[in-house]
Amino acid sequence: MKRPELVCPAGTPAALRTAVEAGADAVYCGFQNATNARNFPGLNFTPEEMQASVAHAHDHGTKVLLAVNTFPTAGRFNLWREAVDMGARFGVDAFIVADIGVADYVKRTYPDIRLHLSVQAAASSPEAIRYYAREFGVKRVVLPRILTVPEIKQLAREIPCEIETFIFGNHGLMVEGRCSLTNYVTGLSTNMDGVCSPAADVHYDKQADGSVTTRLADFTIDSFAPDEQAGYPTICKGRYNAPNRPDAYYAFEEPISLNLSGLLPALIEAGVDAFKIEGRQRSRAYVKSAVSAFRKAVDSILAGQEPELADLIALTEGQKQTEGAFKTKKWR
């Protein structure tokens, strides 16, 4: 049985050390600027931290994948070039990119460093993946969370590179790299600034009756009864009204997390080369629990045993989990 690589989130140097200790085969991380898709205050690495963290990871046999996976706008391309140059200097094991210009730069400048195609590139067909592999020598594609396991199995036969799938964490519903919802509301762009529902625009308005209305900038995203816990106002996880839906409903998706722990053997069998845990914005405790649990599960499967899965429900959004599109086409 092929040994899948466990790829774990590292939002900070401390989280990186935690992930390494918990058994990550690889960690992914980014610099403190718009070059990565988790550009949140207090997250990510200074150049000095990155250099030290790469050394630390390598000392423990863990790979470092550098996310440079947003879309540079004309006039700002240098920032992305610098991120790639620094990563190369620090000895990262791969770049995770989405933009064609950035992919071309990596290929021309650092042909010996592996290139991974970010989920932000939303390559969801053999043709799209083959395009990136042919043009830029992409060695691995991070698949969008929209394919069933049989579809992944079929896809694996049709592409010349490795497959990485998400197995745990945020269950985003919009095609990655195509979402301007946050920019429409806040003026900060997911693609250009690496920002989704920025905290500075988040408001929790307590009403006289004890209910709470959540807002992103000027728009109400949801409303919670006094006994409900108010969730973070992410546009695609909010409740709205449509003409035939007089009662507010989750128009896109409810707050819920992806958890594929029950599908790991099927994913390995389908030809998946790497399992990705989402959550660079999450705490060290989350990283420790999620990485340890999946380390144990993968090792058990490889040893031919039934995996014992720790209860991860406490780490999920809204304490709800799903196998999403991986399980059934009805998800669509």
Binding site: A121, S125, Y240, F252
Partner: protein
């Protein structure tokens, strides 16, 4: 008006409505190029693809150039086949809206659509070196970035197009939100999106008009309107201006923009004439100003 274009119909209009719409566009709308094709949902095409030869002929007799637009989401076999068929079409230019289309078109000239992620001149240069001749830029790009790219495009000899009218596409998904609103799934949707020829409005729980659903696509509630920015765009080298069909008098809309593009009327008059058409949604131009896309700024900000 060669520099004025009409984007594809993105909603699920009934076949007879589509035929009537394009007949009127062919005869009366002062646009030079019409993009034709289903960009949003592969399930819809059997309803009207049989009409395309007649529609194309009618548009071409009306003096329009017809460009075939391809799907934005390409995952299923049927979608991959649709894309392959468009890429093999002869006699018309094609517009690619998904990277999958780039695999096979490198050998022939092609246009790159607004649902592709072209955010910088490096990407533009790369694709132009592989046969791309024309770029419709993403709707969220601000003026400064468009200006930089228009400069490079001029040097490369490729066209640059900006959407100047119609709802902004804000997101696409593998899931159909029209079906979801009606407690169905994409596979058994029964084409419920047909009930909303200008999209399905989503309001916030406090009653704010917010977003618009069109199958797998989420759009702004507001209509982008950059009629006040045409002169600035011309000065920076934007070569084409795209109108996205909405359920309003598109011939009248095209007339106003054509008059503005040729300089026959000034921005104030163009704005007043568009206001007089009583649109079903407010205008916005925030993306162009590098701010919240939903906002509408007056001439002072420009």
């Amino acid at each position: 008006m060669q520099s004025l274009t009409l984007g594809p119909v993105i909603y699920h209009w009934k076949p007879e409505e589509r035929r009537d719409f394009y007949a009127r566009i062919a005869d009366e709308a002062p646009v030079g190029t019409v993009y034709l094709g289903e960009v949003i949902c592969s399930k819809r095409t059997p309803y009207f693809e049989g009409d395309y030869p007649d529609i194309i002929e009618r548009l071409e007799r009306g003096g329009k150039k017809v460009v075939l637009s391809s799907l934005s989401e390409v995952v299923l076999k049927r979608e991959r086949e649709m894309l392959a068929a468009i890429c093999e079409t002869e006699g018309h230019e094609i517009e690619i809206n998904n990277t999958a289309g780039l695999l096979d078109v490198a050998e022939r000239p092609h246009r790159v659509g607004p649902l592709m992620n072209i955010y910088n001149d490096e990407t533009m240069r790369y694709l132009a070196s592989k046969g791309a001749t024309h770029f419709s830029l993403p709707v969220e790009l601000p003026a400064g970035v468009v200006g930089e790219m228009a400069k490079v495009a001029k040097g490369l000899g490729v066209g640059v197009e900006v959407q100047v009218f119609g709802r902004a596409s804000l997101a696409v998904s593998a899931r159909c939100y029209h079906a979801r609103a009606h407690c169905r799934t994409k596979d058994n949707c029964q084409f419920v999106c047909e009930e909303d020829p200008d999209g399905m409005p989503l309001k916030t729980v406090t009653g704010q008009a917010f977003l618009t659903i069109n199958g797998i696509q989420t759009l702004s509630h507001s209509y982008v309107n950059l009629v006040g920015e045409i002169a600035a765009m011309q000065a920076m080298g934007v070569s084409h201006f795209r109108l996205l069909p909405q359920r309003v008098d598109m011939v009248a809309v095209a007339g106003v923009f054509a008059d503005r593009v040729t300089g026959r009327i000034d921005a104030a008059e163009a704005s007043a004439r568009l206001d007089a058409l009583s649109m079903p949604a407010p205008f916005s131009n925030g993306f162009w100003h590098g701010l919240q896309g939903r906002r509408q700024f007056g001439p002072k900000v420009a």
